[in-house]
Amino acid sequence: MIAVQRTDFVGIYTQDLERAKKFYGETLGLKRNERSSDEWPEFETGNLTILLTSPERTGVEFSPNVGAIALRVPDVAEAMGKLRAAGVQFDFDDVYESPVCHMAFFKDPDGNALMLHHRHAPYSDGSLP
């Protein structure tokens, strides 16, 4: 109806821009969009751009996201171990195994929900993600 062409970015609110830059760039190791400024830093996940922004800029009261952004990794348990070693705390002790995927839930330093995700089961049409 309105011809959505793509998602240009998702804006993640942070109360500490420097801390968030370090987390997304160094701890998660996401590539910085070199075109983005230090004031409006963007990170690339492969298909989606994450924009870090602060609540004051858009006049909202900060509250962390509950619906997680699911980062696909080759091996959830291995990535979980690496992030734990870097000081990231996870919501549960173990990898959560659904019948079709592995998941591990965690938060960024502002409390925004993220998850490690890997679907191992094929879809009903037989294809794999």
Binding site: I2, V4, R6, G29, N65, A79, K82, H117
Partner: protein, 130 residues
């Protein structure tokens, strides 16, 4: 460091799955992922997938809290898309913004999750345009 390859989906918390289906499928006109199920419904936003996180998927005690993070939908013309959505009953809280490089208009889904219509019109510093 952890080998992140892509974002598989963004979870969007909703209270009423039927109402959300109507909104995402009909009002926004997004394509439903045919591989998603009846309780776990996904829609395609071009470059990323959103998954509706509902009581049907999470259990009856699930208390959805809307996200503030704006998911920026690229449209050819922000004002035209805004008019169409307003005619369909979607509420835009504020006036549209011209940031100097892009047009922006913020709205929410029926559960209060934040979205923006977005169109960058200015080229990047290297001369390319999105």
């Amino acid at each position: 460091m952890i080998g992140a390859e892509r974002v598989d989906f963004i979870g969007v918390p909703v209270r009423d799955l039927k109402r959300a289906e109507e909104f995402y499928g009909k009002t926004l006109g997004l394509e439903r992922n045919p591989n998603s199920g009846e309780r776990w419904i996904e829609y395609e936003l071009g470059s990323v997938t959103i998954a509706l996180i509902s009581p049907e998927a999470m259990g009856p005690d699930f208390e959805p809290q809307p996200h503030q993070m704006p998911i920026a939908l690229r449209v050819p013309d922000v004002e035209e898309a805004r008019r169409k959505l307003e005619a369909a009953g979607v509420e835009f809280g504020k006036a549209s913004i011209d940031s100097g490089v892009c047009h922006i208009a913020g709205f929410t889904d029926p559960d209060g999750n934040a979205f923006i219509l977005h169109r960058r019109y200015a080229p990047y510093a290297d001369g390319t345009t999105p």
